[in-house]
Symmetry: C2
Subunit: 271 residues, 2 copies
């Protein structure tokens, strides 16, 4: 795989649109998230509105649950007097759990099956699942995927609280929560946060909550602060070679070449 | 699931044998590992020899690779003059990647399939995979599983370097590395360690390496220092109810009840 990346032509790489990149600043560094408007257009639009209003700046990481998720939002969300206003953003949104499978013509399937869905593969650099009988496609809860926290009501999520998967892929959340994107850079800053000692990994009063200093859309930042990065194009012929290299391991260390790969074990390289 | 645990009779819980428990002391607290001698008898015996000689005391965490593993061992292992002696332990061991499937009569299968193996399920509290055609069974690389680091030669692992899975299950390592047990308590102390900035997540000179203060067999500790814990018995009828509760989610939050569960998403409760 290192050989494939080293020898890859420039055409194997795509530059994410800065309008779909969120740049999150923590004390320890920057996290870059790519949004997936094709899969959750209303939620992505709402998140962008919140970001443009500066809603996220000065919020906190609320929760770090081991082998599960890190979640951020307004620590005063439940206090009507103290909580930040959502401004022009909506407070409730119809869920966008799935899109029409037949609306997508660039699905790159994986050949080795999946426990949770009839088919899995990639679209636009994101791990996805597909059910052609139901004509549904959805983003899959792999490591680093970003979703919209919600309460029990299906329309109670609005993007003011977002979470990122930091453990073994909780695929049972698929079609139960709206996924909106993926962390491209900076996962270690989130995944190595101390775990919260409260229920579900929420930080308790005594622990303090890591500060979310700033969260902005990349295209709203000065050019010099915009992340310059590229992601390996999941449409490229060479991406099929990456999948092959992961299914059949040729590194001398591997004694058993495996012959299979699971969706969330396929690397999605960023440079 | 909370109801099942609350209402479970004492007979649903098993006390791990303190002879098969390792207690690891880090600056931040204790980690307890249950060894699986049935799956890797020679490796477990070697690790016990090393622990009894005090081999691990004063070593370091060498590596924390994001979404992969944390590994510990002798920071001077490659320096013949400085490295610790293995004493009575062996320096090379024939790999124990699989055991005979027909030697195990308490395999509890899961019904929803697996990407990597013909069958998966549980034995003695451990996640396992089975291939009856090949008459093989092996421990599976789920979160918190502990394995024996090795070089390229199949017999180059001896237990002096151990790793624990801290990310999405790297099942491609199955049958390529000898797994020897599972962390029952203290995963967050390992999974939230800062990631190493070197290749493969090794800590570089400047970063410093977290200290492994002590690693002993529980039965060699004074009674008062022995961990008092129980694990939910994967043989119990109620464990089947836990699996059911995870396959068909009844919590009001779940809009889609899922209907499936993957091996590494089945909880193995400890109290």
């Amino acid at each position: 795989m290192a050989d494939i990346l080293r020898d890859s032509p420039a055409s194997d790489w795509r530059k994410p649109d800065p309008k779909n990149l969120l740049v999150m600043e923590l004390a320890a560094g920057k996290v870059v998230i790519e949004l997936a408007p094709r899969f959750a257009p209303e939620h992505v639009a709402n998140i962008k509105k919140l970001a443009q209003q500066g809603y996220y700046n000065g919020l906190s990481i609320l929760r770090s649950q081991d082998n599960y998720v890190v979640q951020w939002g307004d620590p005063n969300a439940s206090d009507e007097a103290k909580r930040k206003t959502l401004g022009k953003a909506k407070s409730r949104l119809e869920p966008e759990f799935t899109i029409l499978a037949d609306s997508v013509d660039n699905f790159q399937p994986l050949p080795d099956g999946d426990v949770y869905a009839p088919e899995v593969g990639f679209v636009d650099g994101f791990p996805v699942a597909r059910d052609t009988d139901a004509n549904q496609m959805w983003l899959a809860h792999c490591y680093a995927m970003v979703g919209v926290g919600r309460d029990n009501e299906p329309d109670s999520g609005n993007g003011a609280e977002l979470y990122v998967v930091t453990g073994h892929s909780p695929r049972h959340l698929d079609k139960n929560v709206v996924l909106v994107g993926r962390v491209l850079v900076g996962m270690p800053l989130l995944s190595s946060l101390p775990r919260g000692s409260g229920e579900l990994g929420f930080y308790t009063e005594g622990e303090g909550k890591p500060a979310l200093e700033k969260l902005m859309i990349a295209s709203d930042l000065p050019q010099s602060e915009q992340p310059q990065l590229e992601q390996f194009d999941t449409q490229s012929a060479n991406f099929q070679n990456i999948i092959k290299a992961r299914r059949f391991r040729r590194e001398s260390w591997f004694l058993d070449s495996v012959g299979k790969v699971e969706l969330c074990n396929v690397p999605l390289p960023v440079r």
